[in-house]
């Protein structure tokens, strides 16, 4: 092996350290994946066979047209495209909460397989648009909201509020 200068030796040591740390971090993060994940999609909820009463968070989109509000409770369906979970909630929803919007519900499944939420959080997506542009698009009937689906008419949207 060729003789290394002191600088090169230090570089090799740092490179070796970097590889070890990266591998260790990779193992730790892979092992902790289930703990770090913040919410389950309806599909994951089914796959994992979560027991009734066990506190979990679920997340997905509020299914269009699924919102129903009675005097004491709000119910809606969370979907990830493949599977759905029915959610019941009694409380204040965030401003962004509406049909087609990303949502995270904290709570647990009841015996009937329905999700009883104690907290509702709205998930903001990565898309931004000036209000005027959105209003103009809505007026022209070309409005496509989150999830690339035509938004429900305003009256139906308000059912969530």
């Amino acid at each position: 092996m060729a003789k290394l200068t002191r600088k090169q030796k230090r570089l090799v040591i740092i490179g070796g350290l970097a590889v070890v740390v990266a591998i260790a971090a990779g193992f730790i993060l892979t092992a902790l994946r289930d703990q770090i994940i913040y919410f389950y999609s309806p599909t994951e909820l089914l796959e994992r066979d979560i027991a009734a009463g066990q506190p979990v968070r679920i997340g997905g989109l509020v299914k269009d047209g699924s919102c129903a509000r009675t005097a004491e409770a709000l119910s809606f369906v969370v979907t990830d495209g493949a599977n759905e979970t029915k959610v019941a909630y009694n409380g204040i929803t965030p401003d962004l909460f509406r049909e087609g919007q990303g949502v995270i519900a904290e709570g647990s499944l009841n015996a009937g397989g329905e999700f009883e939420a104690t907290t509702i959080l709205a998930k903001h997506d990565e898309n931004y648009m000036p209000k005027e542009v959105a209003d103009a698009l809505r007026e022209q009937g070309e409005w496509y909201g989150e999830g690339e689906q035509p938004a429900a008419p305003p009256a139906a949207e308000n059912a969530c509020r």
Partner: protein
């Protein structure tokens, strides 16, 4: 803060703290002036000339503070990591100084990113804090900064401190990667990236322009404060060295003065 050039003589000259004090003097005021101009434009664009968002409304303006500070909290750490490399491999005399100066700046950028995130989260998400991958890794990022700052104060011998902290800083780079990919690896409440995505920015130009002007403003603020802070640190070390020298000349025991 130095760039690789063909002539090693030039590189060595820049490396000399005394030379740095000479040429960086002419850097401070232009940098400060640019910062002020960029902030004036940036604040006008962010608060007056940019539109409200279609779902967040006026709350979107918090983004013009939040995103630049979050980016800079990462960039600051990047500067520290490069400096740590310079300390460990080349024993670069300015590397220590650069690393020490950047730490409090990075901590403040991180704190602002966290606080503006809370302020934005309360009306948007319905909560100010959750322990999801992004928020937790960002809080860890802040704690790493605090740890590094504390270590600079703990060791009396600043050269020894520089090497130990350099190792710690390089290990902490792992968290930088975790922060960046947290929103892709794990389902989080925090949204994924909007600006640097594979499909291009998911933000129209009316919102992107103020964001970038503010990013430049905060970047120049960082550059200004970093240069001033490095100059202060070099002078502080000189004073400490002079005090040691004076004590020795007086015939007193050469007690190692903490050069903070």
């Amino acid at each position: 803060m130095t760039s690789e050039t063909k002539s090693p003589g030039f590189f060595s000259r820049l490396a000399h703290p005394g030379q740095f004090l000479v040429w960086s003097r002419y850097l401070v005021w232009p940098l400060a002036g640019l910062t002020v101009i960029l902030f004036a434009i940036g604040l006008y664009l962010a608060l007056v000339a940019s539109p409200a968002d279609y779902q967040m409304g006026e709350t979107v303006r918090i983004m013009y503070m939040h995103v630049p500070n979050a980016w800079l909290s990462m960039m600051c750490y990047g500067v520290m990591a490069v400096a740590a490399f310079g300390t460990l491999v080349w024993r670069h005399p300015l590397a220590d100084v650069a690393a020490k100066s950047a730490a409090p700046l990075g901590a403040i950028f991180t704190a602002i990113a966290l606080l503006t995130g809370i302020v934005w989260g309360i009306p948007t998400w319905g909560t100010g804090w959750v322990w999801d991958g992004r928020l937790t890794s960002m809080l860890l990022h802040f704690l790493i900064y605090l740890g590094i700052i504390a270590m600079w104060f703990t060791f009396e011998d600043q050269h020894r401190a520089g090497r130990i902290i350099a190792v710690f800083t390089l290990i902490g780079v792992v968290n930088l990667v975790v922060i960046h990919y947290s929103v892709e690896w794990w389902s989080t409440l925090h949204q994924p990236a909007s600006v640097f995505t594979a499909e291009g920015p998911k933000m129209p130009l009316e919102l992107l322009t103020p964001l970038f002007v503010n990013l430049f403003a905060f970047s120049f603020l960082f550059a200004t404060l970093q240069v001033v802070s490095m100059r202060t640190e070099i002078m502080r070390r000189r004073v400490a060295a002079m005090q040691r020298q004076a004590a020795m000349n007086r015939g007193a025991a050469p007690s190692p003065e903490p050069a903070r």
